[in-house]
């Protein structure tokens, strides 16, 4: 255990209201792959940011080569040879491969001008060391996604890397490209680099990793050698917790079928999506990022083109080609990025609330500001938006209150079906409970809710029924009684566990 090149000991990171990392340990060894396992929200991303100097820990120690170190900026960790390859690497499409690899760190000649020749030779060296065969002078735009990924990796390795962090590197890759990546990981291993591999896919863990570390809710759960464990043991470590306790799910009488979706298909994103939603029901949709769940919901809301299949509301076929038609049919969608996609910062609260239904509030093209105000007052008070007056610009509100305005806006349209995409993402535990309570109130008042979430406890705690999606398909439907964390995770990861 003492030969770890890089260790975190009792590291904590606190955000107001959230303890993102709670005294976690992690050890990385030269020439070995350590898999970091945990659900969404377990603290993996925060950990990577702490390791690479983007965040500074609030407690604990970071030890590199036996000496405690402190990272004040990403530059510090980079200088020690700690480098991360992210899910979506930030690259520049209009620059050449070599420029991308050395951006911000160009080799210079004595006269402080960029040494293009050295850049080209060294790019070639790095690229061939990872078996990527491409011309360093090629413009990035002309490469395939897999090749771009290789450039991202080459960029990470352009420093003398000792610790390489791979953060879900296979999420965007094809089968063949994944295979190439595996080879690369083995090459890096044989070069003696310590590798941290973060993934959701169990097959990858068992193919590549030597060791594992499990996190849950920002805490360290356990670690060990891969050869001493198996899939179901890992899943158990990932999800074990009491779920019922924290979720205020009310029993609501479930009525007749309200929404019926059959055979919804999209050329590239999803296929054969069929499901129904009853009055008063909360339907949970679970899937990993990239499983197509958001795309399906956006298709229901009319924002996606090239969709075939049928959607029925109350038994009647409806045609939805634009958000306006969806709103008119009583379907609303509260997007994941509520601030970015939901709010017009420059407009006052009441005008944000009335935005989707201005026509309804207008007589002869003139908006009735009295009824606009009344609407805003009614729904913002219900959601307890904190503002000095409803005439206040939304940009002056706090983030949490801005989110409430978005929800108020959609509730005010008096919808029948409300689709919530990641309703509690990025909000603190207190607010989360409030959102869940509110969902119960919604179905109590006769609405139906579709909740898209990648947080397992939320899905299990709030849903009457759960749809699980993987790679653009619905791979399972579980009733509240049947659903267990293991079943859901195993379906979503395409794993082989059957409990």
């Amino acid at each position: 255990m003492n030969n770890a090149i890089f260790s975190l000991k009792k590291v904590s990171k606190v955000f107001p209201g959230v303890k993102a990392l709670d005294g976690v340990d992690l050890h990385l060894y030269p020439g070995q792959v350590t898999a970091l396992v945990g659900e969404n929200g377990a603290g993996k991303s925060t950990l990577v940011k702490t390791m690479t100097g983007i965040y500074q820990p609030d407690g604990g120690e970071i030890i590199f080569n036996g000496k405690p170190v402190q990272f004040h900026s990403p530059h510090d960790s980079h200088a020690l040879g700690i480098t991360a390859i992210h899910q979506e690497t930030v690259l520049f499409d209009d620059l050449t491969v070599a420029e991308n690899i050395f951006l911000g760190n160009y080799p210079l000649t004595k006269r402080f001008s960029i040494d293009w020749a050295a850049m080209e030779t060294r790019s070639q060296e790095i690229l061939s060391s990872i078996n990527a065969h491409m011309d360093p002078n090629q413009i990035l735009r002309e490469l395939s996604i897999g090749q771009k990924h290789m450039v991202g990796i080459a960029r990470a390795l352009s420093v003398d890397a000792k610790v390489v962090i791979l953060d879900e590197p296979t999420a965007a890759l094809s089968h063949h490209e994944i295979h190439e990546l595996y080879e690369l990981v083995n090459t890096l291993k044989s070069q003696g680099k310590a590798i941290l591999f973060i993934t959701h896919k169990f097959d990858e863990i068992f193919t590549l990793a030597d060791r594992y570390t499990v996190f849950r809710d920002g805490s360290f759960v356990g670690e060990g050698f891969i050869k001493d464990t198996n899939e179901s043991q890992l899943v158990e470590m990932m999800v074990a917790r009491s779920i019922e306790a924290t979720y205020p799910k009310k029993d609501v009488a479930i009525g007749e079928t309200l929404l019926e979706v059959s055979n919804l298909c999209h050329t590239t994103e999803f296929a054969n999506i069929s499901f129904s939603l009853k009055k008063g029901e909360i339907l949970g949709v679970y899937g990993l990022v990239g499983s197509g769940r958001t795309e399906v919901m956006q298709a229901l809301f009319g924002t996606t083109d090239h969709v075939t299949g049928s959607v029925k509301m109350n038994g009647k076929e409806v045609i939805i080609h634009s958000p306006k038609e969806a709103i008119d049919n009583g379907i609303v969608y509260v997007p994941e990025e509520r601030q970015k996609q939901g709010i017009v910062l420059e407009l006052p609260i009441y005008q944000n609330v009335s935005l989707p239904q201005m026509e309804r509030l207008a007589k002869h093209g003139q908006i009735d500001q009295e009824s606009e105000m009344a609407l805003a007052r009614q729904y913002c008070e219900r959601l307890q938006v904190k503002a000095s007056c409803w005439d206040e610009k939304v940009m002056n509100l706090s983030g949490g209150n801005q989110q409430k305005v978005v929800i108020a806006k959609w509730l005010a349209t008096n919808p029948k079906v409300i689709i919530l995409d990641e309703p509690t993402k990025g909000i603190d535990i207190g607010s989360k409970a409030a959102v869940h309570e509110f969902m119960s109130e919604l179905v109590d008042s006769g609405l139906s809710v579709i909740m898209v979430s990648s947080e397992l406890p939320e899905i299990l705690g709030m849903s009457d029924r759960i749809l699980v999606m993987n790679e653009g398909l619905i791979v399972g439907e579980l009733s509240r009684a049947d659903a267990t964390p293991e079943k859901v995770v195993s379906l979503a990861t395409g794993g082989s566990v059957t409990c």
Partner: protein
């Protein structure tokens, strides 16, 4: 309430314009006489109308560089129609100017809406095309005052309650815009589409169509101003209003219309135009070369933009006072 009014951008700007106005009045009392005030407003009317149209375009995160070329083309067109068919009624000619202007605006708008071409590129192109078309139409010839009918020249000058029709048109445009931007669904959509196109889209607003409307209105007003311009100066030629689009955009920016869209008021826009109008009229009186006028407008634009940027910083300060908002996002 009064405090809020004074501290608002429009309030500050009004005070500056009034201070300039009366400041020049101290040097030259004639400047602040009622008749000269009316004449300054009348001089600025075309700028006001074009700035209102431009405001719509800028609100939706676009820009219309073709307004002045539109003025030149439409002005030449109606002047030539009047020259060759002097018996046609003025109502028809005004309708024609609105129609031609709308058509030219619609061309810009369709490119932006349907082909998603950046508006700066498309209007840079149409700016040259419309100006070139003016040359082709007139073959480089001028239409002079003696070739225009009496009513063609007389209409904008006709005084009602001692204000010329030209000025009344600007007043009508201001009232119409004020109502539309504050009370109509149509007007509200410009703020939504420019403030956050994504959120507007999810709320059922067709952002591209809103942008199209902005160009349509800007073009229609340019067409009307085309007639007003050639009538007021009693001459039509290819270089009419050359470079005027920059003054129009300047009026918007000085008036607090945010160049990145979503922010701007009719009142601010009008005061921005009046600011330029007062400067233009005041400089000759206090004996400053008119060439300074451009430098002064430029300086004011820079000050206005800096004022905008710093008010943006204030926004950040408000958020920081409540650290939760920021950290919630970061915790993600």
């Amino acid at each position: 309430m009064l405090k809020r009014l004074i501290y608002s951008r429009e309030g500050v700007l009004s005070i500056i314009v009034l201070a300039m106005f009366f400041g020049v009045g101290v040097i030259s009392p004639d400047f602040i006489s009622l008749s000269n005030s009316v004449s300054i407003f009348n001089d600025t009317s075309i700028l006001i109308m074009l700035a209102l149209g431009q405001m719509l375009v800028i609100l939706t995160r676009c820009i219309d560089l073709s307004v002045a070329a539109n003025v030149a083309f439409t002005g030449m067109f109606v002047a030539m129609v009047n020259q060759y068919f002097p018996e046609l009624s003025m109502a028809l000619l005004i309708f024609l100017s609105l129609f031609i202007g709308a058509l030219l605006g619609a061309i810009n708008g369709l490119f932006v809406w349907l082909l998603k071409v950046p508006s700066i590129v498309i209007t840079l192109g149409t700016m040259s095309i419309y100006r070139g078309a003016t040359f082709l139409l007139s073959d480089g010839a001028w239409v002079n005052s003696h070739q225009m009918s009496e009513s063609f020249i007389g209409l904008p000058r006709y005084e009602i309650l001692s204000i010329p029709v030209l000025g009344w048109m600007a007043v009508a445009a201001i009232i119409l815009f004020f109502w539309a931007m504050k009370f109509s669904v149509w007007g509200r959509n410009f703020y939504a589409a420019g403030g956050n196109p994504m959120a507007a889209f999810y709320s059922g607003v067709n952002v591209g169509k809103v942008q199209f409307y902005a160009f349509l209105v800007s073009g229609t007003l340019s067409g009307l101003c085309g007639y007003l311009w050639v009538s007021r100066f009693a001459v039509a030629y290819v270089d009419v209003a050359n470079g005027f689009e920059l003054q129009v955009i300047a009026a918007c920016v000085i008036g607090g219309v945010s160049i990145v869209g979503g922010l701007g008021t009719v009142v601010g826009c009008v005061i921005g135009a009046l600011f330029i109008g007062v400067v233009n009229n005041a400089l000759p009186i206090i004996g400053v070369s008119p060439f300074w006028q451009m430098a002064i407008s430029g300086l004011v634009i820079i000050i206005a933009v800096i004022a905008n940027a710093t008010s943006g910083k204030d926004k950040a300060r408000i958020i920081l006072r409540n650290p939760n908002a920021n950290d919630e996002i970061r915790a993600n």
